[in-house]
């Protein structure tokens, strides 16, 4: 990137005193890269019609340790009217580790200067190594979180707003199964930026980088990319994934081709255009944030108003169409919202990563709720949090691209949701599985005890009194199922805790009255199901036990009632088993 534009500028001799040996600032040539605002560029170059040359200008200096902070510092310097002679002392006082220098006139609009400085700074860390250590990380964190600096506030507000909006809109993209459309939009925007630049340079040279113009170009091409995916899907047999892959790469290729032309525009300066690739989080300005805020307001209002319609569209578009809802129109509106958010998001995280801010938040929120309203809110929350957290982190580690940190923070939140989500998280799933295993084990144990007794009493179904007095040793129970002694002991101790069995000696157990009742109940259910299988499903009796085992754990009271009704079986009666039960002769399959 640094090769894109190099321009030389001289700095007055006042810096000679600073950093002897370690820095050759005096009369050195500094590169200014990514200087996107023409005004500042011209000021720095001294070609601006109003301000002529660095002579008489103030020095702006920038500590690179805190990206969001740095511009505020420099503004402060300008405001204080620090002269270039006082500069080295100031640098020492502040303990700045790295300094970037450019010239500018203090009476120029501060916001523009900020932008230039940030861009300037971001290109410098490697070039101007200073020996001094940066302040401790904790104090920097405190400084960012306390929102003491104007620029910190601006950047945090901007990225957080974007995160919320992207999360909310992304919910519907995810549910519409068009998660990758955001990616298509992001990549399709690239040629839009190039075309907009070329058109604006063509109409009046030097205005090529006006932000509204560039964003309009990006919007038009982003929308074109998304709509072509929709149209390809609608009017051809190409599957959506192929349509998206094609559109994405074709538009991106077009963009790459156009950018080579852009760089050859005479006198044109393509620097800054490429911030759209990776974003420029740290150099968001108040103007940007106002734009974000208005877009966020519009997008969120529309989403809230059309929540019902969008839900229907995502759930069942066929039904929506049959009901007369304009499905194509709603789809286009949804895509329009996505394109808007994406184009705005380009500035923050860049076009390659913007899809992550759309999809990660709703995917995370899905683990916490089964209700689309809460999911939308949750996605906004996750999006806002990851953007906020990511921006704070990127302030602490300025060498890492802020967009990437935002995405990685989102990924962390996703991982947490995946593991601990209240509805579909891995942890809750594991707990449910364990509960199911325990329930199954308990039923198996009780049934084994009941059948053991039944086997002994020879055909007659044992009464509750008979059940309660019988003592079961571990050796009795083991052959009933393919059980390990440890597993049976585990099951027994859980059953004892639930009050179903009680210990009657070492490895000898008795059923309690409630346990006996429960045993009768589970055996009855099992037998009913067996009977159903043999009578209605024509399954051989010897195979029934296994099938019944599989299904009985999912029988609910309704189904049991239905079984009783169909089999015309008395309410309390335990039917006899249709196959041999009890010791040794088990596991027929």
């Amino acid at each position: 990137m640094s090769a894109m534009l190099a321009m030389a500028m001289c700095v007055g001799g006042g810096l000679e005193a600073f950093g002897k040996g370690s820095l050759q600032i005096a009369n050195c040539k500094l590169q200014i890269v990514d200087c996107a605002i023409p005004l500042v560029r011209e000021l720095c170059l001294g070609t601006h019609p109003q301000g002529t040359h660095p002579r008489g200008t103030s020095l702006l200096c920038v500590p690179s340790c805190e990206l969001p902070v740095l511009a505020a510092e420099s503004v402060w310097l300008v405001k204080q009217g620090i002269s270039k002679d006082a500069f080295p002392n100031r640098v020492r006082e502040r303990g700045w580790s790295r300094v970037a220098v450019c010239t500018g006139r203090p009476q120029r609009p501060i916001r523009n200067l900020q932008f230039a400085i940030c861009s300037l700074q971001s290109s410098f860390p490697d070039r101007m190594p200073f020996a001094q250590p940066s302040p401790p990380i904790f104090s920097r964190l405190l400084r960012v979180l306390s929102l003491r600096d104007y620029n910190t506030r601006v950047v945090l507000l901007g990225t957080t707003l974007l995160g919320i909006t992207a999360g909310v809109v992304g919910t519907f993209m995810l549910l519409r199964k068009r998660a990758l459309v955001g990616d298509v939009v992001g990549h399709s925007a690239l040629p839009g930026i190039a075309v907009a630049f070329l058109v604006m340079e063509g109409v009046s040279p030097g205005t090529g980088k006006s932000l509204p113009g560039l964003l309009t170009g990006a919007f038009v091409f982003g929308l074109a990319g998304a709509v072509s995916v929709m149209l390809i899907g609608r009017y051809s047999r190409i599957k959506p994934d192929a349509a998206m892959a094609m559109t994405l790469s074709v538009f991106y290729g077009l963009g790459a081709a156009l950018f080579t032309i852009v760089q050859k525009v005479p006198g044109g300066n393509a620097a800054g255009l490429k911030t759209f690739l990776n974003g420029k989080t740290a150099s968001l300005t108040a103007d940007d944030v106002w734009l974000f805020a208005s877009v966020a307001a519009v997008v969120l209002t529309l989403t809230m108003l059309l929540l019902k319609e969008l839900t229907l569209l995502c759930f069942d578009d066929q039904f929506a169409a049959a009901e007369g809802w304009p499905v194509f129109g709603l789809d286009t509106l949804l895509i329009g919202l996505v394109v808007t958010v994406t184009i705005i998001g380009l500035q923050s995280v860049g076009l390659i990563l913007v899809v992550a801010t759309l999809i990660i938040p709703p995917a995370s929120a899905r683990f916490w709720t089964d209700d689309i309203r809460w999911m939308t809110l949750g996605a906004g929350l996750v999006g806002g949090l990851s953007s906020f957290g990511g921006t704070v982190m990127s302030a602490l580690f300025p060498h890492v691209a802020a967009g990437a940190v935002i995405v990685l923070t989102g990924a962390c939140l996703f991982t947490v949701s995946l593991c601990f989500g209240a509805q579909q998280g891995v942890a809750i799933h594991w707990l449910r599985q364990r509960k199911l295993r325990r329930d199954v084990g308990r039923v198996d144990l009780l049934r084994a005890m009941f059948e053991l007794l039944e086997h002994q009493t020879r055909e007659a179904v044992p009464t509750l009194e008979q059940i309660v007095v019988r003592e079961f040793s571990l050796a009795d129970l083991l052959p009933m199922r393919s059980w390990e002694p440890g597993a049976v002991r585990g099951l027994l101790s859980i059953a004892a805790r639930d009050g179903l069995v009680r210990a009657a000696g070492h490895d000898v157990w008795q059923l309690t009255p409630s346990g006996a009742e429960e045993a009768r109940r589970v055996v009855r259910n099992h037998r009913l199901w067996e009977m159903y299988l043999t009578q209605y499903a024509h399954i051989a009796p010897s195979h029934v036990d296994r099938d019944a085992d599989l299904i009985e754990h999912v029988l609910d009271p309704d189904l049991i009632a239905e079984l009783s009704r169909q089999l015309e079986h008395a309410e309390d009666d335990v039917p006899a088993s249709s196959h041999t039960t009890g010791g040794g002769s088990q596991a027929p399959d």
Binding site: L305, T311, Q318, A321, G324, D371, I372
Partner: protein
């Protein structure tokens, strides 16, 4: 499927006059997917207040017929009248039950939310679903025996319960003509009874229902009229007259009929 093009052109089913009062008049309709015609020249008038089965082999165009009526797939030729007017003007009098498998049931909404979708058009743009409408949705769920499941997320319902949710969504529309795509496919016995009960209920209040049905064994028990379809209309009329072995053979072709019967037997056996 392809051999059916060799079938004789039916003569007896062509209605010359299309009565204005008919809930559904299909006139000379041909529908194609990607230029391959799926149904040819269907000409049909549905009688009022009857349960009508649409029967035919896989790929016969049963679902396509319904979708073409609802303007979901473009017609190559022909026209459709619903109570004498084009469908676009009669949407409020028609309710549609799509195939259960046509949507993703892991969607984050409750049974009641899905049923309320049937009310959206009456609610209009941007209006939220208020208490009054939620009550209507719950009443419809009650009619299909799912009153206790209103708040359940739809993926936690069984296949049959999901089908009943779709049925409730159609009921809540209070339409006069119901178009149902395979409501009996893969449902449990309780659901089958519930759906049948609802269908009979609809008939007793003078509504008409066209139901795509795959189970030949139950056609005569459940339906008054039958429409035999295999890419073209084979026969249509009262079940007692039309649902004959001869017509079935013409619909399914000899070999196919046998296969289907075997399949049906198998399905029965597993239930």
């Amino acid at each position: 499927m392809t051999e059916s093009t060799a079938l004789p052109v039916p003569a007896e089913t062509h209605a010359v006059e299309h009565p204005l009062s008919s809930p559904l008049s299909i006139h000379d309709m041909t529908v194609a997917y990607h230029r391959r015609p799926v149904i040819w020249d269907v000409d049909y008038d549905a009688p009022t207040g009857q349960l009508i089965a649409i029967v035919g082999p896989n790929g016969a165009g049963k679902s396509t017929l319904i979708k073409a009526v609802l303007d979901l797939v473009p017609k190559v030729s022909g026209e459709v009248r619903v109570f004498g007017l084009p469908y676009a003007k009669q949407r409020s009098r028609v309710a549609y039950v799509p195939q259960r498998t046509s949507v993703d049931w892991d969607f984050p909404v409750s049974a009641q939310d899905v049923v309320a979708m049937g009310l959206y058009r009456r609610l209009g743009w941007c209006r939220p679903v208020t208490k009054k409408w939620r009550k209507k949705a719950r009443e419809a769920l009650d009619r299909v025996g799912l009153a206790d499941f209103a708040r359940r997320q739809i993926s936690q319902l069984s296949g049959g319960q999901q089908q009943r949710v779709f049925l409730a969504r159609a009921l809540v529309q209070e339409a006069d003509l119901y178009l149902m795509d395979e409501p009996f496919a893969g449902v449990d016995a309780a659901t089958e009874r519930a759906i049948l009960h609802v269908l009979q209920d609809l008939r007793s209040t003078g509504k008409t229902a066209l139901v795509v049905h795959h189970d030949l064994q139950t056609v005569s028990d459940y339906f008054d009229h039958v429409l035999l379809l295999n890419m073209r209309l084979i026969a249509a009329g009262p079940t007692t007259e039309v649902f004959t072995d001869e017509n079935l053979r013409r619909t399914y072709g000899g070999r196919l009929a046998l296969l289907d019967q075997v399949g049906t037997r198998l399905a029965e056996g597993q239930r």
